[in-house]
Chain length 408, copies 2
């Protein structure tokens, strides 16, 4: 069950001027399931994105990256039930067929469409079914469909992820709304994770591209469920330019930073929601690594802890088996690490220092922390000023069950 | 349950001239459990070893490495139930106390003793209990105790691991016997894995050191259960020098190669037995990566597959979810990999090529292979002559159960 994660409230999601959303059922996996989501963007909208770094990236990722480099998008089309990944040239043709059909209906040119798919890999995309559902999706388009979209893009997610922010920039109110999906296979470089954040701010393409990378690095690229990086991950940042603010062009300006902060904060909430809804999750863990020489070594150590099945099963059992965390630190690949000078905290409890258990540590204190649903593990390396925070969840019977039974 | 793994037969284990073994109960975790194993080596025996690369290496590892660099060992003392890891300076003092007590009893000097521990980490080693059990272990020493030793060093292992070989070198019969333990936390660079192989061959220290590294690289360093690398892993190769062969000194000689082959083959059997007895294992998987530019990239891809929880749960479910394997190949970190030119086989069935599912592939063929207990996944990269083979097991409910409940 999701860990301290409430579903979004539809009324709290702000419409974004220039974005309308339509939902439809293509019957890709199940008859009647809302599995197609269409986002229409007003003219002069800008889109920037980051994509999976998996070499086996899916056909829609290849097409979306190519289209994004060519022209300003007018529409995003997202299907669940089939990832169109590991499908070779035929998969590319099917992704393009969906784009072509949508372009003819809107009308616009094919490169103005960005396609996204999530679901089973290595199965042919039922493009005909998706194309047949496009008119219904277009007919459904309206500004207050964010909640429906958050639900329509879910796969093994239990709870929909959507949230909004408002920020005032030079006297203008800027709105931001985002949705995301993804529960297993979540890992740094963007794993079976789809995220769409839209704002009405006026911002140029370069600044927008910088902002999406900044936001991803501090949100979606800081989470992991099982260490697997998917073929389809995509995080899109849309700016419709209808808020009337002076165009943001300088990445060091106060306006840029105010917007970047709000978008990063919103993205972090979505990313953490993905972990809270991780497959089979019963615990939400924040792994904080401080005092490192650089961010890279802090992340290495954080991921070694976050990916260790032994650590994750111990958290599932609420067992303060601290040695497993120390062992993970030890094999993280920071070769000159002096383990005798670091401290480890579980919540506010100092549990290890001087290469072993802290003299003050009582198992009862560790157990008190481990019984909580939200747990912070903090490692203080005492060798520099860098830090990194990652979020992950535990490994439960249900993780195995969900992943052993998915597809069947 | 162990996958196609029969327990060793005591009578088939060859005594090694110059090695006697004694077993005792120290009551470290449970009253009456055989938890102390003593190996006594005849004078002029040589020992070479490889140890964990975990920065949090355990106290006994630190002591054993130091002692091994000083003098020829006369005894190895192994306890289960407590790993004496993450125990700081106090742990070092306790490991040395055991060595000192044993040295006084034998008698010999303290550096002639190599200590080994396996079990729970971050708990103080009950050195007094071990020391109290030493006289019983000494009294029990005899040449035909290999089977008892294989059982005494087990922790979460279900089946004992022990095997023997004989090889003829320049007319002399050389005997080799080895034992090993370890089921979870098994990973390349030697994880909660203890292995002891002894031979009566005459071989000098340099050649022996080369041989233990060669054997480890092709056996214990090719297995993984959960990707965790332990604090205590040690693999020791003992040569008592009593077989009467001409001393082996040249690593390119026929004698060296014959002995190295036999020892590597025996080590591989022990290493594979560890995987077959992996925590909760129901499948044994050989991951073969061929046609790579170098062995390193083949191993990277192999480990990405072998460590993926999504792949491992799919194997548990006997589900030919091939996309999960392709996704793992894609994120293995071989950045210039062209996924459209590789082939993937499940057993003898070609399942993927040209970036997607092979035209000839039938799901029924994949399912036939996935239902077997021993499964080979073969990836042909078609970009060079290098290859690597790894062995791993699946991820089951029982893996979570064992690791969530261990300690309690």
């Amino acid at each position: 069950m999701p860990v301290n994660l409430a579903p979004p409230i539809a009324e709290n999601l702000l419409p974004i001027a220039g974005v309308t959303i339509g939902i439809a059922s293509a019957g890709i996996k199940k008859e009647g399931r809302k599995d197609v989501t269409l986002m229409l963007l007003a003219p002069n909208s800008r889109v920037a994105g980051v994509f999976t770094q998996n070499r086996f990236c899916a056909a829609p990722v290849i097409v979306a990256k190519k289209h994004l480099g060519k022209t300003a998008p007018r529409a995003l089309i997202i299907n669940t039930g089939n990832a169109n990944a590991g499908t070779g040239d035929d998969g590319l043709a099917r992704a393009r067929a969906v784009c072509e059909a949508l372009a003819a209906l809107l009308p616009c040119s094919e490169p103005e469409i960005l396609p996204f798919s999530t679901g089973v890999i290595m199965e042919p995309l039922p493009a005909d079914k998706i194309i047949a559902a496009l008119p219904a999706a277009i007919a459904d388009c309206r500004a207050d469909n964010w909640f429906a979209a958050a639900n329509a893009i879910m796969t093994t997610d239990i709870v929909a992820k959507a949230t909004s922010r408002q920020v005032t920039i030079a006297g203008k109110t800027i709105s931001i709304t985002g949705i995301a999906k993804g529960s297993g296979m979540i890992h740094p470089n963007m794993a079976t994770m789809l995220g769409y954040v839209a704002t009405d701010a006026v911002i140029n393409q370069e600044a927008l591209q910088s902002m999406v990378k900044h936001a991803a690095d501090l949100s979606f690229n800081c989470i992991t469920v099982d260490g697997d990086t998917s073929t389809n991950d995509s995080f899109m940042l849309i700016a419709t330019g209808q808020a009337g603010n002076a165009e943001i062009t300088d990445c060091n300006s106060a306006d840029y930073l105010a917007l970047a902060d709000a978008i990063t904060d919103l993205s972090r909430e979505l990313a953490q929601a993905i972990v809270r809804d991780g497959e089979g999750a019963t615990k939400f863990m924040s792994i904080v690594v401080e005092g490192g020489r650089d961010r890279d070594e802090c992340r290495k150590i954080g991921y070694a802890i976050a990916h260790s099945p032994l650590v994750k099963t111990a958290f599932f059992a609420s067992d303060p088996n601290l040695g497993r965390i120390l062992a993970a630190i030890g094999y993280a690949g920071v070769t000159d690490l002096d383990v005798s000078t670091l401290q480890m905290y579980l919540g506010d409890v100092l549990v290890a220092e001087n290469g072993g258990r802290a003299a003050s540590y009582q198992e009862a204190d560790g157990q008190r922390i481990m019984k909580q649903a939200d747990i912070t593990v903090r490692i203080v390396l005492n060798r520099g000023d860098a830090d990194a925070t990652l979020w992950t969840c535990d490994f439960s019977y249900d993780y195995v069950k969900i992943n052993a039974e998915y597809r069947s």
